[in-house]
Amino acid sequence: MERLHFATVGSVDDGKSTLIGRLLYDSKSIFEDQLEHIEAVSKRRGDDYVDLSLLTDGLRAEREQGITIDVAYRYFATPKRSFIIADCPGHIQYTRNMITGASNADLAIVLVDARTGVVEQTRRHSLLVSLLGVPHLVICVNKMDLVEYDSAVFNRIREEFEGFASRLDLRDVTFLPISALAGDNVVSRSANMPWFEGPTLLHHLENIYTASDDNRIDTRFPVQYVIRPQRADTLDYRGYAGRVAGGMLRVGDDIMVLPSGLTSTITGIDSPDGPVEQAEPGQAVTVLLKDDLSITRGDMLCRPNNRPRTSQELEAMLCWMDDAAPLQLDKIYTVKHTTKLARGKVSNVLYRLDISNLHRETEINELKFNEIGRVTLHTTSPLFFDDYHQNRTTGSFILVDESSGQTVAAGMLLSPRS
């Protein structure tokens, strides 16, 4: 059974945590003790109904303030598919936690409150989802119960969103009118909205096709760890362990090692289950080569006729995530890209994106907390990379502040504008 990883995003109070509670509840994935617990807490607080958001808001501070601060992961399965849910916070100051939850997602659900429509955080999160290359998007117009299940409200919000989203890079967008609280169109079809002919949310999640989302063409294997057993029976074993970042590896394939440019042939592939003939994106394997080459962590295997780009001067979209200090031009940060560590500095902010209207603001020389901009990055050694849109693994990196150790930025590598 295949697993779908999805994130719920959108502004504070638009109903993300309630929706997850509803999905778990209606798919019978809530355990009795969990339900008793949230019933007791709701009752003690004097709520009129059981607050399903308590299922994911697990931290003391979250319960005290009634908000989501950090991503919560929940798991559930139906006979068709199993799911990992990342329930993301909506507040702007916790955007970095939202990015954490959405970066690996196959699908994002953007919640919109039917009464308020598209607001700034809807736009910010949709932009981030598009920059992060999340392949599938579902816009849930929520709280339809509070607008008398009116199709005109749904259609207006849909148009509003489409007007904004036409300038984003979104491949697959679906709109659903729901009530997370009452359950309309979440797991069962709503009798209150006969005008809506689309699927329920769960039906959509169970049936969405994701197998074509991986890049299975451009072979990329960042070397993570060299396995050299110091045991008498396997003295000659020398394997390169890592996770396939793109394309396929097959026994017998010719490969090239970067940065050395040396070539060899794959003589064996060991998986956690033993030897295999081939490996696909996402698989953790150990590759054996015909020749005894000098290969270390941070090197990359590819096909001789299909290489990643190699450069020390890169262009990237950068999300600045440090609340302690803004991005400083020419300051040295540690760059972590695939399994490679380098040091680097941003020499130029080409533009900053204004979230509300997607305007590009130039003449900028810093990025503040939660700002997004296109930058030029120089690294101390070359990176082997692809455009983020081609490959989410070889196209992404983080910046680490060398004195605080904090992860201060997430970057997505792009082809330079010609």
């Binding site: 295949e2 355990f31 009795e32 003790d33 969990q34 617990h37 807490v41 299922l55 994911t56 697990g58 931290l59 003391r60 501070a61 319960r63 601060i69 950090d70 919560a72 992961y73 929940r74 798991y75 199993s82 990992i84 970095r96 936690n97 954490t100 970066s103 690996n104 993570q224 760890y225 396995i227 050299r228 057993p229 110091q230 045991r231 029976d233 396997t234 074993y237 362990a241 890592g242 996770r243 060991d270 956690p272 289950d273 696909e280 996402g282 698989q283 953790a284 962590r297 972590k336 890209h337 399994t339 989410r392 992404s396 990196f397 983080i398 680490v400 150790g405 904090q406 992860t407 997430a410």
Partner: protein, 298 residues
Amino acid sequence: MKSALRSLIDESVTIIREVAAEFERPAMLFSGGKDSVVMLHLAARAFSPARVPFPVMHIDTGHNFAEVIEFRDRAARDLDVQLIVGSVQASIDAGRMQDATGPRASRNPLQTVTLLDSIKEHKFDAVFGGARRDEERARAKERVYSHRDAFGQWDPKTQRPELWGIYNGRHKAGEHFRIFPISNWTELDIWQFVADYNIDLPSIYYAHRRQVFRRDNMWMAVSPFLQPEPGETVTEELVRFRTVGDATCTAAIESSATTIQQVIAETAAARITERGATRADDRISEAGMEDRKRTGYF
């Protein structure tokens, strides 16, 4: 098509290798409980045919089930890893803390002191734990690479962003990371792995007859460390354990499941969570786990 278990294994193996590559002195917590057994098997597969390049460590409260301790020693030998035991009794004898006393005393919270002392003594900078996010609501919030300050504390408010599969293990001297490679596994995934890979577990995970008594709606096992109070009657029941920890705070469940497949069927139909059914220590308060984690617990 990739199965769900397949991608979980790939993710866990990748995390374990990443830590081995980036940290100076990693260690893996190993109690003989099913999650840590699965984690250790994943480590063995991550480095095969080489040995696991770090030791395993057990924090022993001295109040563990004998079958589990025996299993622990045998498994470490079979998988050819070095076993370090941090002893709560030794910490008490050394005056690091006082033993828990009173009728419902449990050494469970005392483990934190011994754990942090052992991490310091061996200068470990990364400690793998077998916690799963589906276990508990504070764990559902924790990163795979979870930073601990010089006092071993977790601060849920300042967790680092953790994007894609890129992990940041940068830390200052004296700080360390807890690493959770099986974060995304559920109880059912663990059992599926045990079945598919024919993994040996301590016998107490399968149904057996045992002397038990009822306390707080749970079946507690009679042991040298836990005796019934007046009014609690001992009976013999057919039970098994869903989780295995300190004998004073781990309860058994009624079960007739003697094979892996029967356990899987039972787990799939369970209406109560693993910890909810069996852990007295989680019932302390609404944020019991979060509070313990903040001060350095597993």
